[in-house]
Symmetry: C2
Subunit: 364 residues, 2 copies
Amino acid sequence: MKRRAFLRRAGAGLAAASVAAPAIAQSHPKVRWRMASSFPKSLDALYGSAEQLANRLSRITDGKFEMRVFAAGEIVPPLQVLDAVQNGTVECGQTAGYYYVGKNPAFAFDTTLPFGLNCRQQNAWMYYGGGLDLLRGLYRQYNIINFPAGNTGAQMAGWYRKEIKSVADLKGLKFRIGGLGGQVLARLGVVPQQIAGPDVYPALEKGTIDAAEWVGPYDDEKLGFHKVAKFYYYPGWWEGSAQGSILVNLKHWAALPRGYRQALETACAEANLLMTAKYDASNTAALRRLVAEGAQLRVFPRPVLEACYKAALELYAGLSAQSAEFRKIYEPWRRFRDEQHLWFRVAENTYDNFVYSADRAARR
Amino acid sequence: MKRRAFLRRAGAGLAAASVAAPAIAQSHPKVRWRMASSFPKSLDALYGSAEQLANRLSRITDGKFEMRVFAAGEIVPPLQVLDAVQNGTVECGQTAGYYYVGKNPAFAFDTTLPFGLNCRQQNAWMYYGGGLDLLRGLYRQYNIINFPAGNTGAQMAGWYRKEIKSVADLKGLKFRIGGLGGQVLARLGVVPQQIAGPDVYPALEKGTIDAAEWVGPYDDEKLGFHKVAKFYYYPGWWEGSAQGSILVNLKHWAALPRGYRQALETACAEANLLMTAKYDASNTAALRRLVAEGAQLRVFPRPVLEACYKAALELYAGLSAQSAEFRKIYEPWRRFRDEQHLWFRVAENTYDNFVYSADRAARR
């Protein structure tokens, strides 16, 4: 090969490399993020969902976009995940919006409201009913972009040392429950208790509190409440579904290559679907074990549910009067919910009710 | 710059380019696939889901993995998508497994069975209940790997020229319905009719058939059946949910870069979630319009549903006796379904039933 020809080729190679390298650097750089979770490792449907998300992102990007997940309290206290993302202490977090109703009651819509949307309806609202836009407007004020990334489905109402036979039995009940559910119950005489995770079991055992709620059979079993409070009530009307969210700091979001942003958004949708599927697939066996160990299933009497429903609507009227931001989301949310009920009552609910009763009759 | 130094640098650049280029080629090559859909463009929740999937894949891969979607009949007849993917005529397809029960009745489990799993339960079974593994074993025999990629939710039971007041009214009913639902109804005297999409409306108008079913309000409205058959029945017990699938030819799958495979799998899960959300968000308004135009909503009388339920169980016993492959999936599917009912009847269904009735009472 002539030296000149080699030089031309080498020069061409060099030029190609110079042009290609920044393009590669731009589109597939190595990115390492930290995700702070509000959930402990033991709750594997919740926390495990974040690990699964991180694995998926790594695999889609051939290991270029790596996210390290930290369990509750490892680098950020569980109820300060929003703050840590807002400040950029971490690039992103896994949490539930309703932990932050103290900052702004409108955050409740990002998770659930008492007697609110079920899981399917929440997804319909978020993705096609205007919910995501409204909530992104809220989070933007905190320097954050949010992604729905999991849902527990309808929860249980928790563990009670005594039966709840009437609205009067709620009077003075010391119940470990937070958020808007606690505010609804307070209107009926319940004394809501804020107790951190590890302290709930001893408080219930000693009788310092009368009842405690968490999620549903799969998670509740791990916490062992059935050993100290045998009445297991349903439905958990304050969480007819509960959506988890991935929060991302807006500055870090903007700096992320476009393909990675797309991968993150898609993987969050997958996480949303899979968390519900995992809970649904796991709850029955856990419920069977709990009942075998002595848990007594109880449904709330209808008058109790009706009193709570009425109190919830009053609470929402009050919050709407106090907070323009709550009202701004509540009004379209309420209309959407009412419309959803019209449709769901027709095919979906009639179908479910029939197959459950036919299946039950067939087993007799 | 000295010529020797330049040469060294140029050489280094060339070497870097030589090394980098194949690595880039391996991990992010340009890939163009064709996807044949079983659905027409007009059904935008079904067909549109495939377009959305293709867009997402393109955006995750910075335009490197492009999928061109062809509507029903454009390059492959709607009910031959599986065959086209099996033969490699197209790399992948969007379809519903139960279109292929003529090849093997076990394909029904990839979509739905009469009185089968609802949407949440189908996802629980597919992703965490062993369903996906069982169905992948089935599709593998056809040189295909399958991905759940959409669900309509519970469907309506279609449009009837006359009311169905008793099991006797099913006798001789010429009903446009396919698959296992048609086989169940045939046991009760219905004459199932296989009629291609465009021919259904004129057949119903002329009275050549007495009834026809499709999906639900959002799709049914577009087909205009309410203009020629006013009784709109529910629930569509032969489709308590209906899952759509993306089928990929195994040879093309194996040749796909690992990151693209991961992106495809994730985007299918997103499509699964979003299709249901879109139907749920869109059905109410369509139902309102249909009722405003004269549709009469009717629920099947309970004795009719019970007779159909019994006939379905008899059909499954027969199929299990005839087909080892059907039985292999049916037995674990049936156990999973029974277990799901135990849990869903507790928190989820009790919650739904209460909020629907409370909301209804509040509107009065």
